[in-house]
């Protein structure tokens, strides 16, 4: 019997500009007040989340934050203690892994060692009793997609780490799941390979239009891959947003600190106007002027977060009384494309500054040198927790 070639493939559907901003957009995956307890310990604590079709959603957090547990609940390997999960409108409560329209790429890849690459990829289709000819064709095209056609007959132990990763991806994708779960997909690869594979993953996702949920502890990986990131801590999603939202507008000290490096100054609001605030910080030994209003109680303790690349360093005093501080260079790390300076303030606080090495013969700032640090009034992010 002839099988219509590739008739059932999903037409590639790019993510709409930002479905999460549209209140009428239908969530593809809906996590509704899900909690998972192990004894007294709440691994996942009352999480609600909507993921939209075609997204790459990254769950980002340190180990033990509950991100893997949440992923495993999506896959059906753990049962929520309370709450519900809907995938494409269907309630997944009580649906075992083998009946979910979901596939998972395991951190260890979990390739079947007694089967060849081809048999591994064909495994899920055989299980679904897909006709032989169609299996052959789908496996072949999937192996081509992940550039493993020449390795079809190899056993997993005859492959490199990167090749195994691609077999695992092919095996999970060949079933055309509605949702692909990836547990630390690039964790076992070295840095160069990881960067290349990140872009491959994005292009494959783009071609197939499958929705991805990725778990990672690597913020760089999350920033590169994700359409949105959910930052997790202690079983909760502390902030969800696009990579730039998370980086530029962190909602809490934790998020600011977790994503990239940041200088955080504790202080008290001394002027609180709708269009600006001024913060007095003992830690800084000066005042911080921010060119937008915030919502906080007067006299409240707040934290101003300034990214190292947004701090200017100069030997001559800059203008103005605000957002300026003097310190001594304590340490310099030369990274080639940029340099990291650790500047010690008179208060004892160490401020991290990065500067791009734009000139090959810049007048070098050296150790022990007295410098002025300053930043724009738009740079600090003020958080209240």
């Amino acid at each position: 019997m002839a099988v219509p070639a590739g008739s059932a493939t999903n037409p590639s559907q790019p993510v709409k500009a930002a479905p999460w901003k549209d209140p009428h957009a239908k969530a593809y995956v809906q996590i509704d007040r899900v909690t998972k307890s192990f004894g007294d310990f709440k691994a996942v604590d009352d999480i609600s989340l909507k993921i939209y079709k075609g997204e790459i959603f990254c769950l980002l957090g340190a180990s033990g934050c509950g991100k893997t547990t949440l992923l495993r609940m999506l896959g059906g390997f753990e049962t929520p203690s309370s709450g519900k999960i809907f995938i494409d409108g269907e309630d997944m409560t009580g649906v075992p892994p083998y009946e979910r329209p979901v596939n998972m790429m395991f951190q260890s890849y979990a390739l079947f060692p007694h089967m060849s690459v081809e048999q591994n990829v064909a495994f899920g289709l055989k299980q679904d009793r897909v006709p032989k000819a169609e299996i052959k064709e789908r496996v072949a095209s999937m192996l081509e997609l992940v550039k493993l056609s020449d390795f079809a007959m190899r056993k997993p132990h005859q492959l490199s780490g990167g090749q195994r990763q691609r077999v695992a991806l092919a095996r999970a994708l060949v079933k055309r799941p509605k949702l692909l779960l990836l547990d630390e997909p690039l964790g076992a690869l070295d840095k160069k390979l990881r960067e290349r594979t990140q872009f491959e993953l994005i292009s494959i996702q783009d071609k197939l239009g499958v929705t991805f949920v990725v778990v990672t502890h690597d913020q760089e990986e999350a920033m590169t891959l994700a359409s949105r990131i959910g930052v997790m801590n202690h079983g909760e999603i502390v902030q969800a947003g696009t990579p730039s939202e998370i980086y530029e507008f962190p909602s809490s000290k934790f998020v600011a600190d977790f994503i990239g490096s940041v200088n955080i100054f504790e202080g008290k609001l001394i002027e609180d106007e709708p269009e600006y605030v001024r913060i007095g910080s003992e830690e800084l030994g000066g005042t911080i002027y921010v060119s937008h209003g915030i919502s906080a109680a007067p006299e409240a303790t707040v934290w101003a977060a300034v990214r190292p690349e947004k701090v200017f360093m100069s030997t001559a005093p800059p203008e103005g009384p605000d957002n300026v501080v003097r310190g001594a260079v304590q340490d310099i790390a030369y990274l080639g494309d940029l340099s990291i300076y650790l500047v010690k303030l008179p208060t004892g606080k160490i401020v991290r500054v990065t500067q791009p090495n734009t000139s090959r013969h810049a007048e070098a700032i050296t150790w022990e040198q007295q410098v002025y640090l300053s930043w724009d009034a738009t740079s600090p992010v003020v958080v209240t927790r």
């Binding site: 896959g75 390997f77 075992p96 892994p97 083998y98 979901v102 596939n103 998972m104 395991f106 260890s108 979990a110 390739l111 079947f112 060692p113 007694h114 495994f123 899920g124 299980q127 679904d128 056993k155 132990h157 095996r171 999970a172 079933k175």
Partner: protein, 304 residues
Amino acid sequence: MRRAPWSQRFGLNGRGLVVLLPYLWLLLFFVVPFVIVLKISFADIDLAIPPYTSLFQWDEKNVLSIKLNFNNYVFLFTNELYFKALLNSLKVALISTLFCLLIGYPMAYGIARAKPATRNLLLLLVILPFWTSLLLRVYAWIGLLKANGVINNILMALGLIHEPLAMLYTPFAMYVGIVYSYLPFLILPLYANLEKMDWQLLEAAEDLGCRPWQAFYKITLPLSRNGILAGSMLVFIPAVGEFVIPALLGGPNALMIGRILWDEFFSNRAWPVASAVAILLLLLLVPFMMWYQSIQARESAGAK
């Protein structure tokens, strides 16, 4: 020129000595006895001590004559008792191995999947019977199985049966004894194999559409093949020559090759025939042992 110490001149050093020891052991306790048995199997029965003729004759004309008597082997091949006993032994060993597998696989699997703390306890329980002599444990089974034994008494007290079941001195009792005694030999290698298993593979199989029993059949079972084979060999090989358990539990009709061997040696004092039986049995089991060795080699090489 300084002379090397004597040990080095003979190619011996610390490492050489360590390697030499097991070979010495094998020579002393395997090769030498084997050669003696082989020698006796070519002798003739004799009313003497020891009760067989010598192969080597040194006569007064200084002629060494070697007399090899092949009649023992001819006798074995022409008398169908031995063939039947051998066949029966193979049958008993095979059935016992299958039962060991049926009981031992779930046990090994359960131990391998238990929490590490429980696992050690369970392993200890498997090994525990070795702390008592095999003979004592077989006698304990007599106490359990006999007409007024523990099992019959309990069943009668419960009113399930009205007269004792005849269990002792039946093939059933013999199989119970063999399966019980050899079970640990199957569980331990199988456990060692299953313990190395990556259980995430089962989740992956379920994720790809397998029900749990399908995942077991398609993933766990093929991956534990080497453990199954190794464990089965460890039961099968000694069970073929098993003598004590059939003699004590199986009753007079249990025709086993080990039993025949015993009878030839001690009742008939036919050492040459008994030796020939032993040699043939050994030759029969050598292929199985070699197979077991190759499985072990594969297992330690880690290739699957």
